[in-house]
Subunit: 155 residues, 2 copies
């Protein structure tokens, strides 16, 4: 039955970083994506792009955390309880992370990138080029999102 | 062993559309994402965003197609043979689609969206809000990408 379908994926590679804990959230952080040797041909032409989407598997999320459906953004109780599909939290039914990174260099099967908020050893599911269709104009975000950014500036 | 890790996911819902064939690529196309009933709480607050990322599973891709590592973009032999990680082709080791859509309306467990290039019945893996951090300035794309856009304008 269609609704019982299970989807099985294999990592295309792994994240390599020296950053631990909250330091992985630093948008200036340089990390590497080590792509499996046998997939190296899939990288040809990638350096013609400045930015990539990285899809990765949040392998530290437990089954219990996958059942979470609402959170306070960034754990802040002053912000409204919000559905997990309306927040970029790691807690979600399919714990896939999605981050836009800057591509710094490519050497063999190793992509060096800036701004990847993933821990060392995180399985990477896919890498896709970011193109002009991915730029949104006239974007709307919630007021709590803007408040978070304002609060950051005050720090 | 880490490198043998298999990742198992369950769809959070399905795509519903009347479009068939190449018509799903129309960026004005309105489709629906029918989210599983038990996940409806995960949608709260989502309408505060204008745009979403939709991650979906390209379930028509065969195992053979998953082994493809290079393609000519859009099947055009005049464009350079390019690695699958440098193109948004459906042929990739983990056939996950990623599309930015405009959120038109939300009713119960049904998201109505504009611009989702997925076939009817496609399993949806995740929905994430698009926020200001996802907008890239000073973007670089390959010259073949720009040529494709120019050729479209001529049609």
């Amino acid at each position: 039955m269609q609704h019982e379908q299970k989807i099985v994926l294999n990592p295309i590679g792994y994240v390599r970083t020296v950053a631990v804990g909250d330091k992985v959230k630093d948008k200036a952080l340089i990390s590497q994506i080590v792509v499996r040797d046998e997939l190296i041909d899939g990288l040809s032409g990638i350096f013609d792009y400045s930015h990539l989407f990285v899809l990765f598997y949040l392998n530290q999320i437990t089954d219990d955390q996958r059942r979470t459906l609402q959170v306070h953004p960034r754990g802040r109780m002053d912000l409204p309880l919000t559905g997990v599909f309306a927040v970029r939290t790691m807690l979600r039914p399919n714990p896939i992370g999605l981050t836009v990174v800057e591509l710094v260099s490519v050497e063999g099967n190793i992509l060096t990138v800036r701004g990847l908020d993933a821990f060392d050893g995180t399985p990477v599911l896919d890498v896709k080029p970011y193109d002009r269709w991915d730029i949104v104009e006239n974007l709307k975000v919630p007021s709590w999102w803007l408040k978070l950014q304002e609060d950051k500036k005050k720090l």
